[in-house]
């Protein structure tokens, strides 16, 4: 018996207006098999046929499954799934080849230094978040 292949896909649209180009209004747009995104409540996987959902995104890695797995860094935002379209609104989203590792490493060191120097709890938490954001960028750039 021939293998039944489900050809249904979902459309992923990443909107990051600060990086919109003249050619496409979307930062990233592709038909994919599955998307795993980092929400504030944990990771959420989206497959074709998902019922409509809205979620708040945390800074994290967006995992895109097509023929192979690819990754993007999304610095928080909002996601909405409807009609097999996943729309992600984010201030900043980077593909691995767009990450300048030297610049990010320098920033990370700077944040680490500021974090070590400060005694204020809120400032420390904010610097730790910045360090985490740099770390995920470096992880994605290194293909981890």
């Amino acid at each position: 018996m021939a293998e039944v292949v489900d050809e249904k896909k979902i459309e992923l649209r990443v909107i990051a207006p600060t990086m919109a180009t003249d050619k496409s209004p979307y930062k990233f747009q592709k038909l994919v098999d599955m998307v795993i995104m980092r929400c504030t409540t944990g990771d959420m996987g989206i497959l074709p046929g998902r019922m409509p959902v809205s979620a708040v995104l945390d800074a994290g890695i967006l995992r895109i499954f097509d023929e192979s797995e690819s990754k993007m860094v999304v610095m928080g935002g909002v996601a909405h799934v409807s009609d097999d379209i996943v729309t992600i609104l984010s201030d900043a989203a980077f593909k691995p080849d767009e990450i300048n590792t030297e610049e990010v490493t320098a920033k990370m060191k700077e944040f680490q230094k500021l974090c070590d120097e400060t005694e204020d709890y809120n400032e420390k938490t904010s610097y730790r978040k910045d360090i985490y954001r740099c770390q995920i960028q470096l992880d994605v750039a290194a293909g981890k």
Partner: protein
């Protein structure tokens, strides 16, 4: 009658001005194309944002949320989008005059957030002449009149090309003012582009959210006699976008959190799109006004040339008459 020298000088001045207006017309034409592409590029992300906002705001639970629940309106904020520079016909004055008329008819206290120097100067002048006190700004760039009412919030001078970062900065200010209760309603005042000649200033309420307006935009559901262009600057949605109207949506992090995250996006995108629309109108207005200025300069040059030639001819005729009468006298 002015002397020939004076006419020549004036003709040269007009010619120089016409060269400038011609160059400005060409620059505006080229910038118009870029602004058109920019406005088109903004359309789809705006539509996607509206889709999400509508699907969140139409939920019954959202009606009690601060950004959706209507309040008693005492202070209304107006984000006035104008240009930083003049020489663009009636573009700036149309926006300012329409808003001034609207405020005259309204009973609430207006709070201005100008995006563009021309609008800022116009309304600052009005407030200063009304209060008869010089404007004093606090550290956060807010101007309170002598009776302690907030009248204007400085949002800086936006660049000529619309920029999402600037729109976001203004949106963040609006949200903090709205949450602190310093404003009860937010309106955008911008110019809508129909074609190069038809540019219409409009006032659109953006906060608190109006689910009915969002439904009409998202579902392309128009009222009787309403045209799509009347709704705003968005490209008409594809058929499948309209199906979003009937869907039930699950909120993963709770409706309050989703709404709290989506509202800054909605405001920023709305502002960004309004700025893109206004930038396009500015270039269109500059192009048409510079074109007519060049034509008018051509007419003046023609008149001055005619005047110059007539005067030269009359001098020549007079000289010939003098020579002839001199010769006659010698005979």
């Amino acid at each position: 009658m002015p002397s020939m020298k004076a006419i020549k000088r004036r003709r040269l001045t007009v010619k120089n001005i016409s060269q400038i207006t011609k160059a400005m017309n060409l620059v505006a034409t080229s910038k118009l194309q870029r602004a058109k592409a920019n406005k088109l590029a903004v359309g789809k992300p705006v539509q996607a944002t509206f889709d999400i906002v509508y699907n969140t705001a139409r939920d019954e639970r959202a009606l009690e949320q601060p950004f959706v629940k209507p309040r008693e309106v005492k202070k209304t904020a107006y984000v006035v989008i104008t240009s930083n520079r003049g020489l663009c016909g009636g573009y700036n004055s149309n926006v300012c005059k329409m808003l001034a008329k609207h405020i005259k008819e309204s009973e609430t206290v207006p709070v201005f957030l100008p995006l563009g120097n021309k609008g800022r100067d116009y309304f600052l002048r009005r407030i200063v002449s009304e209060t008869r006190q010089p404007a004093t700004w606090d550290e956060e760039g807010r101007y309170y009149d002598p009776s302690g009412r907030l009248r204007m919030v400085d949002t800086g001078s936006p660049s000529e090309t619309p920029n999402f970062t600037e729109a976001k900065r203004a949106a963040d200010k609006l949200i903090s003012l709205y949450e602190s209760g310093e404003i009860d309603e937010v309106n955008l005042v911008y110019t809508q582009f129909f074609n190069v000649i038809t540019l219409e200033p409009i006032i659109r309420k953006v906060l608190p959210l109006d689910p009915d307006y969002l439904r009409r935009v998202v579902g392309a559901d128009l009222k009787d006699g309403e045209k799509w262009e009347d709704l705003g600057f968005f490209p008409q949605p594809e058929a499948k976008t309209g199906s979003a109207v009937a869907q039930e949506v699950e909120f993963d992090s709770g409706i309050e959190n989703v709404l709290r995250s989506v509202i800054p996006w909605y405001l920023s995108m709305f502002l960004y799109a309004a700025m893109a629309s206004s930038a396009l109108c500015e270039q269109a207005a500059r192009m048409t006004s510079m074109d007519s200025a060049t034509k008018n300069a051509g007419d003046i040059i023609e008149k001055l040339t005619l005047m110059f030639n007539r005067q030269r001819q009359s001098i020549i005729t007079q000289e010939i008459t003098e020579i002839v009468s001199g010769a006659n006298a010698l005979q």
